[in-house]
């Protein structure tokens, strides 16, 4: 599935118009047309949904949660015990974030999140999942061979670090809290949030010391 996207990537980006519809574009267009004619959907609602997930909800939310956990021990403790409430206190609630669990990396344990059965992902803090997260290579291999998966992300973990893989098989959504890198003592919460990548909150990256 990821390959398919890569193969067609150039095509899609250069051909976003409706005058040469590819089969999927035509299929979705037909569905939207029929549903609109029947009064079952509001095309303006679709615009709002797209705008929400394209521009408003994304990994910046999760990065704020992580940066706050790094700088505020009370918040970190709350996040450990009741992630749903702690995250909601920052204004991040809703669809695919109804039930949250934060898992904290330690020097001895690295956490990695996957959904082998579909594409469960914490939308409220990370936004929509990337293609690779939803595609068979990651979903099949994260649980059996996570070290080689991490290598493909450029992350080599030393062999003595234990890996814990969290397979999101229920409605609990996981947020990895990466370790705060050394050399960041003087940074503000906002500056720290800038360092926290989406992948570090899935577990396919760590947060590097700023250069």
């Amino acid at each position: 599935m990821a390959h398919k996207h890569h193969t067609h990537h150039g095509h899609h980006t250069h051909d976003g118009h409706d005058n040469h519809l590819d089969p999927m574009a035509a299929r979705v267009k037909a569905l939207e047309t029929i549903l609109t004619e029947k009064g079952l959907i509001d095309p303006a609602a679709i615009d709002v949904i797209v705008d929400t997930y394209e521009n408003k909800v994304g990994p910046k939310n999760g990065a704020k949660v992580v940066a706050k956990a790094w700088t505020d021990p009370e918040f970190a403790d709350w996040l450990k015990k009741d992630a749903t409430a702690a995250i909601a206190s920052l204004g991040f609630t809703g669809r695919q974030g109804e039930h949250m669990q934060a898992v904290f990396n330690t020097p001895g344990q690295h956490n990695l999140v996957v959904c082998t059965l579909c594409s469960c992902y914490p939308w409220t803090v990370l936004g929509l999942p990337p293609v690779w997260y939803k595609a068979p290579p990651y979903r099949s291999r994260a649980v059996i061979d996570p070290r080689s998966v991490l290598e493909e992300f450029g992350l080599s973990l030393s062999p003595e670090i234990h890996i814990r893989v969290w397979d999101s098989t229920a409605e609990l959504r996981y947020l990895v809290v990466p370790m705060r890198p050394e050399g960041t003592e003087g940074l503000s919460e906002e500056q720290l949030a800038e360092l926290v990548s989406r992948d570090s909150m899935i577990g396919t990256a760590i947060v590097e010391r700023p250069r």
Binding site: E32, A45, Y53, L117, I163
Partner: protein
């Protein structure tokens, strides 16, 4: 069901190949696919478990050849047909050919923010006390249902320990088939890598799943 979705431990799909600076959407139709899917979910005619089951019921060759938004749309077409909203003939025609089923609600632009911020919590009160507590050793059951389940094949018949008692959640195995929410306690169950993957596998690996109580038995 032992369908194409149950990917944990399967082999042969190749490297992960993450895309640098990946956009949220790779084509405009993917945006509409997201919006149409969420809007139709608001009808209240089906639940998240039924839609997951519809996606995993695609023919395996079709499932593996499709991107995730393609899977969504193919499943949505079937859901709309099953529940009487849009027929195959209408899809062929590209136009409405008459009135269909009545939705419980239609999602309007003005309501999107509130609906998305509210989400669809699945926690429900369970009257009975949880059967297991953190630290207990359990075994996952072996079963191969024709219908929907959230116990992956790789984690069936395995010995693990209860890592955490979560909450009472709607039971997908019945809810997907309109046989009621039948909420149960959910537990995070952790397995040692070699218990799942056998001798010679990474001894520093542990894998956990979130399991409904009826997936588990005491050891």
């Amino acid at each position: 069901m032992n369908g194409p979705q149950d990917l944990g431990g399967q082999m042969g799909f190749g490297p992960v190949a993450p895309e640098r600076n990946e956009p949220y959407f790779h084509a405009d139709w993917e945006k509409r696919a997201l919006g149409v899917t969420l809007s139709c979910g608001a009808f209240g005619a089906w639940n998240i478990d039924e839609s997951r089951h519809m996606r995993e019921s695609l023919h395996p060759a079709d499932y593996y050849a499709s991107s995730y938004y393609e899977i969504w749309i193919k499943a949505l077409e079937r859901l709309l047909e099953r529940h009487g909203f849009v027929s195959g003939v209408e899809r062929e025609a590209g136009h409405s050919l008459g009135k269909g089923a009545e939705p419980k609600r239609v999602l309007k632009a003005a309501d999107v923010a509130v609906v998305l911020a509210k989400g669809g919590p699945c926690d429900r009160r369970v009257a009975a006390a949880p059967k297991f507590k953190a630290g207990d050793t359990v075994r996952t059951k072996v079963f191969n249902p024709q219908g929907h389940t959230r116990l992956p094949r790789y984690a069936r018949g395995k010995i693990g320990r209860i890592d955490a008692v979560r909450e009472g959640y709607v039971f997908p195995d019945t809810n997907a088939h309109h046989r009621g929410e039948q909420q149960q306690w959910v537990y995070t169950v952790v397995f040692d890598g070699p218990e799942i993957w056998g001798a010679g596998s990474d001894p520093t690996l542990t894998v956990s799943i979130d399991a409904w109580e009826s997936y588990l038995e005491g050891v």
